[in-house]
């Protein structure tokens, strides 16, 4: 598996076109946020550096979806995956190698966002509202849900790789789940819901990794981490079994 990982990382490092825009995007976004939030506002409007640390994470699923889609579909489209099997690689090794590369990408994505949050957070007049422990929890939850999501997107690509627009499926799912989690969160905390609807919405809010990547954590780590682990393990298992049995064209 090591040789496959080296080959995949080599390919990852070659994708300058992908990671340069990330850097520019977050840099620009953080500068704008910092400037806007530090502008003289009315007395009751209060901005802390937390907003920078957490709000950027909202966009993580979109970046993960685009990356997983484009990185993996190239393997399927250009016959690379076929060639790996012909060259003697085990199918499970191929899946795991992809998973590792995607997780490493998710890690750097999170590291970049949070590092920038810390750097630019220093420019906020009001400093941080949350404690260091809370910020660490944010970081861990964000990383856990990023891993869960990127592997879920990987699973989607493996399942639908023969579709013409397979590369866009993760992005479509990421946008849809973002919209759904936004609606759920809004209804949950701003509208009077029936008892049954409340319970359903509350369950979904606590068990959808995409809803963890928001400005406030609304549930406990006892809900977040088991959900992330279940998503991660489930995605890997489904991808592995499906790919093991799949007839490659």
């Amino acid at each position: 598996m090591y040789r496959l990982m080296v080959a995949d990382f080599n390919r990852l490092l070659n994708r300058k076109v992908l990671y340069v825009p990330h850097l520019i995007y977050f840099l620009v976004l953080d500068i704008i946020y910092t400037i806007v939030c530090n502008m003289k506002t009315s007395e009751e409007l209060y901005f802390s550096a937390d907003i920078l640390y957490t709000d950027n994470s909202t966009y993580i699923p979109l970046f993960l979806a685009v990356f997983a889609g484009t990185f993996l579909i190239d393997d399927f489209k250009d016959g690379i995956l076929r060639n790996k099997i012909i060259s003697g690689a085990k199918r499970m090794e191929i899946v795991l190698s992809h998973a590792v590369v995607l997780c490493v990408y998710a890690f750097f994505m999170n590291a970049l966002i949070h590092l920038m949050g810390l750097v630019f957070g220093g420019f906020f007049r009001n400093g941080y509202y949350s404690t260091q422990r809370t910020l660490l929890t944010y970081t861990l939850v964000h990383f856990g849900s990023s891993v869960a999501l990127v592997l879920f997107y990987m699973c989607l690509i493996y399942l639908f790789c023969e579709f013409r627009f397979a590369a866009f499926i993760p992005l479509a799912v990421a946008i849809a789940s973002k919209v759904v989690s936004f609606i759920i969160t809004y209804d949950l905390y701003n509208r009077a819901l029936s008892d049954r609807t409340f319970r359903i919405f509350n369950f979904l809010d606590g068990h959808m990794p995409s809803s963890y990547l928001v400005s406030t954590l609304r549930h406990g780590t006892a809900e977040y981490f088991p959900t992330c682990i279940a998503f991660t393990a489930g995605s890997l298992l489904i991808t592995g079994i499906y790919f093991q049995l799949k007839d490659i064209k």
């Binding site: 016959g79 790996k84 060259s87």
Partner: protein, 306 residues
């Protein structure tokens, strides 16, 4: 005789569709095995089974004496290179980087031999040009170079000349012959371009609707096939009359061309044509062995005569 690949009763079905059935073939070591069949006859399916992309639903196969269902088959596959359908290329990388990537994937200890491979396929001067900007022929040659990484003993080429221009076809043909003669690599080529196959193959396997209908060497094919003389004359109606008189089998191709299936005495023929005031413009021996043999095997309406 030693064999690189043997299959016995191999079968593959997709739902209710049978792509291969009771398929038994033998590819001798050191041969260029021409795998002939129409589009959809099952050529690529067999290749997918041999390369491990798909699993057979019946029968068995062995590569270099190791059975396909054995754990050791991966070792046999390490001695094998393949270009299945389209070459497996990282489009955003150069030819050199593509080969490096394949070396890494195969776990080869160093990049030794890459320059030689690039030279072998004529891509040594492509520099920083990305593979996506290569011509179809260059991509095909790069695909073959990738398949040659790790010095394989057996090479599978699935329709290697499809879509290539005449120059590209010649380059690939020469490369295949070179690999076989100089490196002793056993090569399986699937193609429906018979004329091209007949210039390369030392052995043939004819496949139709998932069945191997005949397997033979090039010598056996030569012995089994008919020769003809292609005649270009003023009027093939006159030619038809003369051949009918002589009781010779012929086939009219157009108003001026016909194939005649017999040993001909030129002086006698010339006298008869002069008598009927018809000119013989050209006479040439026409070797249609593979094409005619294939048509006789699978019948007409073939897509396999291009």
């Amino acid at each position: 005789m030693e064999y690189a690949v043997r299959t016995k009763g191999l079968g593959k079905t997709y739902g209710k569709f049978t792509a291969l059935s009771d398929f038994s073939m033998n590819i001798p070591k050191g041969s260029i095995y021409g795998f002939v069949g129409k589009n959809g006859a099952g050529k690529t399916t067999l290749i997918r089974l041999l390369t491990g992309l798909q699993k057979p639903t019946a029968g068995e196969f062995e590569i270099f004496g190791i059975r396909g269902d054995s754990r050791e088959i991966r070792k046999s596959r390490m001695r094998m290179g393949a270009v299945v359908e389209s070459p497996a290329i990282y489009m955003g990388m150069t030819a050199l980087d593509n080969l490096k990537q394949q070396y890494i994937t195969m776990g080869l200890p160093s990049y030794e031999g890459i320059e030689e491979l690039l030279k072998l396929v004529g891509l040594e001067n492509t520099g920083k040009k990305k593979a996506r900007n290569f011509s179809l022929g260059m991509k095909q040659r790069l695909g073959i170079a990738i398949a040659l990484c790790g010095d394989p003993d057996f090479l599978i080429l699935d329709e290697p000349i499809n879509g290539l221009d005449p120059q590209g076809i010649i380059e690939i043909r020469e490369l295949i012959l070179k690999l076989n003669r100089e490196k002793g690599i056993t090569i399986l080529i699937s193609s429906h371009i018979l004329d091209e196959l007949s210039r390369l193959a030392t052995h043939y396997g004819f496949i139709d609707r998932g069945h191997l209908i005949r397997e033979m060497s090039a010598e056996e094919l030569e012995a089994a096939s008919r020769k003809s003389v292609r005649m270009t004359v003023d009027d093939t109606k006159v030619l038809a009359g003369i051949m009918d008189e002589l009781g010779i089998e012929y086939k009219i191709l157009d108003d001026q061309k016909a194939d005649v299936y017999s040993e001909l005495t030129f002086s006698e023929l010339a006298a008869r044509f002069a008598e009927k005031k018809c000119n013989i413009i050209k006479m040439e021996e026409h070797d249609e062995s593979l094409e005619a043999f294939y048509l006789a095997l699978v019948g007409g309406n073939s897509a396999c005569t291009d």
